[in-house]
């Protein structure tokens, strides 16, 4: 178990190394940050001067080695835009991001579990069809569209929730629903199909032959088993929740990491992009490790060797 953890953690290093290189190349290819920092009116010589001052005139490999050198010392460099160390800029976004991600996951789970189970139990009924259709709809609605619609309906028209911003728990509800719906849709379908499969397993028949009632059968015997793949999906969704939330963040002007990342990419703010990707990657890896552990917790068949 301990060894397993150490092994998994050690594997992070090459992965992070590949990531940093890929990101560096990508951002380097993306073009000149200076062009974006100066106004349309600035002249070529102005831009040249700024480039030189920022060390952007050096060849690629020198820039890369400088970057790696700094990185080893835990320094991601300075944001061009904010003229501040990049890492704290990223870290200060984490609470907002976590908050939204967690809330969305809660919303998704609260929606998906009962719906998924119900439609599996009532397979091929009208309700099942309805839930399936609903989950398709939930998947087919782009986040921005749903978000704007929710704002219009529940914040502007019936003024039940605040329109935007981060603050109290009520601020979280609409963005969490926006972000959670897609995930819920996917989870619902997954739980449904898992449930259906598990309800056909031999051990369910065994439980029935003991005289177990159908509620216990579903919520105790089948559910725990059907949860196992769901946990994996939840782990995979974290990447999406952390970095892919930018559209929701932008619609609800939620100061999360996704928004920062997009702006940093658009501004070719290398240091921030690197720091953000690093933090996100690390998060994703850690969350996946945790889900792996939960997975193992849920499923005693897996051992830690």
């Amino acid at each position: 178990m301990k060894k397993y953890l150490v092994k998994r953690l050690l594997q992070i290093i090459p992965v992070l190394f590949i990531i940093s290189f890929v990101v560096f190349v990508l951002v380097y290819m993306a073009g000149d940050p200076v062009a974006l920092m100066l106004p349309e009116d600035a002249s070529e010589s102005d831009r040249e001067a700024m480039r030189a001052a920022l060390g952007l005139t050096d060849p690629f490999y020198i820039q890369y080695f400088r970057f790696v050198g700094d990185l080893i010392q835990g320094n991601f460099g300075t944001s061009f835009r904010y003229n501040q160390a990049a890492l704290p800029l990223v870290l200060e976004r984490l609470p907002a991001t976590f908050e939204l991600a967690a809330a969305s996951m809660v919303v998704a789970t609260l929606m998906a579990i009962p719906l998924g189970i119900y439609s599996a139990r009532k397979q091929n009924s009208l309700v099942d069809l309805f839930i399936t259709g609903g989950s398709v709809l939930g998947k087919a609605m782009p986040n921005f569209w749903l978000g704007i619609l929710l704002i219009l309906l529940f914040a502007v028209n019936i003024q039940f929730f605040p329109v935007s911003g981060r603050g109290t728990i009520v601020h979280m509800i609409l963005p969490a629903i926006t972000l959670g719906t897609g995930i819920a849709a996917e989870m619902t379908r997954l739980i449904r199909s898992n449930m259906l499969e598990i309800l056909n397993q031999d051990y369910i028949r065994t439980a029935r032959s003991k005289g177990v009632s159908s509620n216990i059968l579903v919520y105790k015997h089948a559910f725990r088993n059907s949860l196992i793949p769901v946990v994996t999906i939840m782990g995979l969704q974290v990447s999406h929740l952390v970095s892919g939330a930018l559209i929701t963040e932008s619609v609800f002007s939620w100061p999360g990491i996704g928004l920062l990342l997009v702006q940093a990419v658009n501004g070719r703010d290398m240091a921030v992009v690197q720091a953000a990707v690093f933090v996100i990657a690390l998060l994703v890896i850690i969350v996946n490790l945790i889900t792996d552990l939960i997975y193992r917790l849920l499923d005693p068949r897996i051992n830690y060797s």
Partner: protein, 328 residues
């Protein structure tokens, strides 16, 4: 009123699939007396499991009991509500399934699964249930039952899991135990232990057992009476000695002849030609006609009835039709 514990009368169980109706069980009739061990033999797919599942009303969705009665203590189980039948399951009638590897829920400890069965039908608290479970585990020959109580199924070998299944089935001292190929997946040495365990059971607590298998060896060692099934029907029924000595139905004969025996050397194995038909492709006339060495014109046209002779044996074959007596 008979001394029969269970009477299955003219059971028809069909599966209504997208590809049409599959008549898996077609008019099966037999009965089990108190303390009796009866065996059901027949090749794969002939409807043994479906019959046993039908008894406990455990047939799943596309399947349905379309006709027949299952009388347990003279009450027809097919008329029971789901709630009532739950009181029978695991309590009066227990079942052991074919695959010990998949029949236990992988995420709960075996102790939990046994206790659950106990607590479902008996008003005992958790501690008491645990105590009884441990007793049961040691009764089925598990070494170190206290420790094994907390083991997850995957940590146990096939034989141990099957013993857990048996412990679970015995947890409420059932009057009838249905064992559906309890040893097929096991080694001969383990099989021996399990069979011995079941034998002791029936003799000690006078439990009736329906033992389903296609291993004639197991039948020969274990049971009092044998039901031979083929293509969803009973083709022969007799007490075990007469059946092995004097098989009447050509299928039973073929089965006996094609079983390799370690004690009889040299002689060439006879095989039944052809393949086992699936229930959706049964021919008109006798189900066995294509494989039967004695098939006559009549066999291809009219399917024979199960004829009971005076000694209590019965057979479904035109070769034996003329001899006797009563139609069931």
């Amino acid at each position: 009123m008979t001394d029969n514990l269970l009477e299955v009368k003219n059971l028809h169980t069909h599966f209504f699939t997208e590809n049409g109706v599959i008549p898996s069980v077609n008019g099966v009739t037999f009965s089990v007396k108190k303390g009796e061990v009866i065996g059901i033999v027949g090749e794969s797919g002939c409807g043994k499991s479906v019959t046993s599942l039908s008894i406990l009303q455990l047939i799943n969705k596309p399947g349905k009991i379309v006709e027949g009665e299952i009388r347990f203590h003279d009450k027809d189980l097919t008329t029971f509500s789901e709630k009532d039948i739950r009181k029978i399951r695991g309590n009066k009638i227990s079942m052991i399934f074919q695959e010990p590897l998949t029949s236990l829920n992988p995420v709960f400890t075996i102790g939990h699964q046994i206790s659950e069965a106990i607590r479902l039908h008996q008003k005992v608290d958790k501690k008491e249930a645990k105590q009884r479970s441990i007793t049961l585990l040691s009764k089925v020959g598990m070494a170190n039952p206290e420790r094994q109580y907390h083991a997850f199924p995957h940590l146990l070998s096939g034989g141990m899991r099957q013993r857990v299944m048996i412990a679970m089935a015995l947890s409420c001292n059932p009057e009838l135990l249905i064992a559906d190929e309890p040893t097929t997946a096991l080694d001969v040495t383990i099989q021996k232990q399990i069979l011995k365990l079941m034998k002791n059971l029936s003799s000690e607590s006078n439990t009736s057992i329906i033992l389903i298998t296609h291993d004639l060896g197991v039948i020969a060692e274990m049971v009092d009476r044998v039901v031979v099934m083929y293509g969803g029907e009973i083709v022969e029924e007799n007490d075990v000695y007469s059946l092995f000595e004097n098989p009447k139905h050509p299928y039973t004969k073929g089965l006996l002849n094609s079983t390799p025996k370690i004690h009889r050397l040299k002689e060439k194995l006879q095989s039944i030609k052809g393949n086992v038909p699936t229930p959706d492709q049964l021919p008109s006339g006798c189900n066995f006609q294509d494989r039967c060495p004695f098939a006559m014109k009549k066999c291809r046209e009219i399917s024979p009835d199960l004829v009971v002779s005076s000694d209590g044996s019965s057979v479904r074959c035109w070769l034996h039709q003329e001899k006797e007596v009563v139609n069931v």
